[in-house]
């Protein structure tokens, strides 16, 4: 039914700008749309969506964003900037907002452009990389994103290029996005021994009931070190689906952190393939939920060669009737001897009606590997509480401090100081602890 409504939208989109560009692009869109049509939206009968129903998304007809001028300005963005000195690309309702963006601290050899510009000026590169990693054949949301993709970011890091200042890509949904769908798209190609941190923020600034459906593809050449931080602070009645897919060459580090506090329903797929020896995937995250929010993370680490490593630490804090899902998949190919994998998921339930489904999923086809996983679900530890109380700190403050400390253990893995500090401050605020000094 809703797949039908997308058919009309896709027809309109194709005849109205969406069909433009080099010939391969409409062909890619068409292929992606055909796959989406064939797949349909996943249901809870699909193993990958067993704990998460996306019926609310499937049954809603999200419209294209209306072509009004964005109302967002820098003042409204200020609380979400992390650090005003970061290189910044701002998109409002999926469209690039040049006047809100800033590239002051970017080395000249780095190429950061909008997807629109890259298609116009660097078409060969985009053709080679767009949808080369994300699975548009099997992932209906990634297919839908690819069919409707309008703008986004293309980052090309040349070999040996080390960028000290992080890039902050902000996806803002303001009131013009209400009831609409937005399709953010990011391509990162990191050359040999390059290094950079990229933050993607998803921010609700007045929009309601919209759908963000994002895809980020990251290709790391030998020795590259890429940090990717996803900061999901959508409106609390919004829907958010995102796929991050990395492909790692030899001796690479891909460090992904997923922070999630927004959206009524969110699903984040964080996937990486360790395709050559020496690669390390670090997938960490923190989700803090309240009300009736539902937040699902699926991580997937594919150890496809020997001597690869993965580290995962996810923490969740769930209040009220919120529900969290963590599904950590690890696949170790027969060739991937000496794989070293560790996965941990800890959830803290602050109310009797909050719920977490934690499902590690290890498929190991090599015999000389070390793979561990651990999960805990629970309430605040009595010994910890006693420690704080024995220092004169009252129960409520003690609980707040310990909840904050629980969050900090995950946030500690963030390598960008300003980001870690700002997320710590948010967590601090959330748990009503007095202002830190």
């Amino acid at each position: 039914m809703s797949v039908m409504s997308y058919r009309d939208q896709f027809a309109a989109f194709s005849s109205n700008g969406g069909g433009a560009g080099p010939a391969w692009l409409p062909a890619l869109r068409q292929r992606a749309f055909d796959r989406f049509s064939a797949l349909g939206f996943p249901t809870t009968r699909d193993e990958d969506f067993h704990y998460t129903s996306v019926a609310a998304i499937a049954e809603t007809t999200f419209k294209p964003v209306r072509g009004t001028e964005p109302t967002t300005d820098l003042t409204a963005l200020a609380p979400y900037l992390v650090d005003a000195g970061f290189n910044r690309l701002v998109f409002v309702n999926g469209r690039f907002a040049r006047e809100l963006s800033s590239f002051a601290a970017l080395p000249v050899e780095v190429s950061i452009t909008t997807l629109t510009d890259a298609i116009a000026n660097d078409a060969g590169f985009v053709q080679e990389h767009l949808a080369s990693l994300a699975d548009i054949d099997g992932n209906a949301f990634a297919a839908l994103n690819t069919a409707f993709v309008t703008d986004g970011v293309v980052v090309r890091l040349p070999a040996d290029c080390v960028v000290d200042t992080p890039l902050h890509i902000m996806w803002v949904a303001d009131s013009a996005a209400s009831g609409a769908s937005i399709f953010p798209r990011v391509l990162i190609a990191a050359g040999r021994h390059s290094k950079m941190a990229v933050i993607e923020s998803f921010v609700g600034l007045g929009g309601s009931g919209y759908l963000t459906n994002a895809v980020t593809e990251v290709r790391l050449d030998d020795g590259a070190y890429i940090e990717h931080y996803k900061v999901q602070r959508e409106a609390t009645d919004a829907y958010h689906v995102a796929t991050v897919q990395a492909m790692q060459a030899k001796d690479t580090v891909f460090h992904q952190f997923s922070y999630a506090t927004g959206a009524r329903l969110s699903r984040s797929n964080i996937y990486t393939k360790l395709g050559a020896p020496g690669g390390e995937g670090r997938l960490n995250g923190l989700y803090m939920l309240a009300g009736d929010q539902h937040c699902d993370h699926q991580t997937y680490v594919h150890h496809a060669d020997e001597h690869t490593a993965s580290r995962e630490l996810y923490k969740g804090i769930l209040d009220d009737s919120s529900r969290g899902v963590f599904n950590g998949k690890v696949l170790v190919d027969p060739i991937a001897q000496k794989t070293d994998g560790k996965q941990t998921n800890h959830a803290l339930l602050l109310s009797d009606t909050a719920k977490i489904d934690s499902k590690p999923q290890l498929e190991i086809f090599a015999d000389d590997v070390r793979c561990t996983h651990g999960a805990t679900v629970g309430r605040l530890d009595d010994t910890l509480l006693f420690y704080l109380k024995s220092r004169g700190i009252g129960k409520e403050t003690a609980r707040a401090l310990l909840t904050y400390a629980f969050a900090c253990e995950a946030l500690d893995t963030i390598e960008v100081d300003a980001l870690r500090e700002s997320l710590e401050a948010l967590a601090f605020e959330q748990f009503n602890v007095a202002t830190v000094s």
Partner: protein, 252 residues
């Protein structure tokens, strides 16, 4: 006036009786050492004085400054001046020592009708107290015990004690796991905090610590009871003869 009076204290954990009638009187300014073999109940006793919720007091009373504190929550006991230095201090990631201690300090002040102190003035107090335990001032901005070595955690306990200035300090095996240098620093810290109106209960397995913190009284705990009390010489005797001779006497 007596500071602490424990009478015929019985306590259980998960229906197992751990303390089987302990009586102890501590006057202002006194240092009491509680020794005993593993499993004698000495750590349990220390934790019960501070109000650990895992234990249930099934008989007897704990009277502190003339009032029973059995019904008091741990934070209320702390606000009244009782401090427990933990055998295994916990880690609190993300919360700095400075913030944590100022929160504790101000809650105790508030409960005693005193004004809260602002962060700048508190840093001055911290700077002063750091010297007592010979700690690096940078520790003030580190998360509480997070990634600290065993020795640094114990030293941090004494720093907290120095800041909170308890009337009754209880040290629960503070010496365990410490090398001799760390032990000396910790003991000197405790000694510097001694005053005529403050008392200390030192729970320890070894006599070694008592070379540095000299007790006025030594009590030997075995199977949930005090089986022998004496002066500081008793500790030396225990060091030489072990606990067995007392245990035989207790069961005879």
């Amino acid at each position: 006036m007596t500071l602490l009076s424990v009478t015929d204290l019985h306590a259980t954990v998960a229906d197992t009786e751990i303390l089987k009638g302990i009586s102890l009187t501590v006057n202002p300014g006194e240092v009491h050492a509680i020794m005993g073999p593993n499993g004698s109940g000495k750590s349990t006793f220390a934790q019960i004085l501070a109000g650990h919720p895992a234990y249930e007091v099934t008989g007897g009373d704990i009277v502190y400054k003339g009032e029973s504190i059995l019904e008091d929550e741990p934070e209320v006991r702390a606000q009244k001046g009782i401090f427990l230095a933990f055998q295994y201090p916990v880690e609190i990631p993300g919360v700095t020592n400075a913030y944590f201690l100022r929160s504790a300090y101000n809650e105790i002040r508030k409960a005693n009708g005193q004004e809260e102190i602002d962060p700048m003035d508190f840093l001055d107090i911290m700077a002063e107290k750091l010297k007592i335990v010979d700690m690096d001032p940078a520790m003030v901005n580190r998360a509480v015990n997070s990634g600290f070595s065993g020795g640094a955690k114990k030293r941090n306990e004494i720093l907290q004690m120095a800041v909170l200035e308890p009337t009754l300090a209880i040290l629960d095996e503070t010496d365990s796991g410490l090398d001799i240098d760390a032990l000396r620093i910790v003991a000197e810290g405790v000694n510097k905090l001694k005053r005529a109106d403050r008392s200390t209960i030192v729970v320890t397995h070894y006599q070694r610590l008592l070379n540095y913190i000299v007790p006025d009284f030594v009590h030997v705990l075995a199977d949930g009871r005090i089986v022998k009390s004496g002066g500081k010489d008793l500790a030396l005797e225990l060091e030489a003869k072990g606990y067995d001779w007392l245990l035989e006497g207790a069961s005879a």
